[in-house]
Point group: C2
Chain length 157, copies 2
């Protein structure tokens, strides 16, 4: 059935980031709407940010377009251009290959939410702007390395 | 800049449907958000339905995933499973190749809006459930035919 029962969609918590970065993702979860609806070509998720939480570490995608619409509360977009407060209905787009690292932070005292759409490319590289980290995604497996491609270990942080 | 100025995004009106079907699309327009944000891998549009308007003729996509979130008012989803009233925040998904013709109709007296995301496949076929019409999209060109592939002419409607 096309109609998505949001209350039954999978809620994803935690982080795939290696230590010590995973701990920075506390207060961030996501509702997997596209998965619930049987989509495979792009992800469609509601990201929930508790007060103080961030959507991700600041990064950009090599091969995947991304689109965001805030659906609740206020999210602050932080990217190479500055800081932008976004309320419900405000939208942003991040074309594949644009090396403009970005993330969303909830700097308010109330829960905030946004819908995020991202292409599911067969092979993807995301580069983290503020730290020596990149991730390669292939066949559903994420491999984190330093930016020079050498294996990442927490000691390197 | 990632932040999309919705007031400056292109507003698309009218219809590419051949006669006599184009006239059925009165009261339907769309704001081209993904285009404004420089995206190429999927479309991201706000569809505006005046009272009585419909999003499209009922159809399904062969190669393109589709995702919808109602953002204002009430839209009635009509598909092979029935009729479903959707309010702001309600979502629906239509996986590529699922032969479940669908569209959205505004049966209220107030404007309704939804966000629609659809993959941009290099080659696409959409089939219209209730009439003898299909469309093939390739290299940005839409070619309407009867379902047996013969050329469409208005006399055939």
């Amino acid at each position: 059935m096309p109609l998505i029962d949001i209350a039954k969609a999978r809620l994803k918590t935690g982080s795939i980031y290696p230590a010590p970065y995973g701990a920075e993702m506390a207060g961030r979860s996501s509702i997997r709407l596209g998965e619930a609806g049987g989509l495979s070509q792009f992800g469609a998720n509601i990201v929930i940010l508790e007060p103080g939480a961030k959507s991700s570490l600041r990064h950009w995608h090599l091969n995947e377009d991304e689109f965001v619409m805030v659906t609740q509360g206020v999210c602050t977009l932080i990217d190479d251009h500055g800081r932008f407060e976004m309320g419900a209905g405000d939208c942003a787009a991040f074309p594949a290959g644009d090396a403009n690292g970005h993330h969303f932070v909830n700097e308010t005292g109330e829960e905030a939410r946004f819908l995020v759409i991202g292409t599911k490319a067969p092979h993807e590289v995301a580069t983290y702007s503020d730290i020596d980290l990149r991730v390669e995604m292939a066949d559903g497996t994420a491999t984190f390395t330093r930016k020079d491609g050498t294996p990442y270990a927490a000691d390197d942080a």
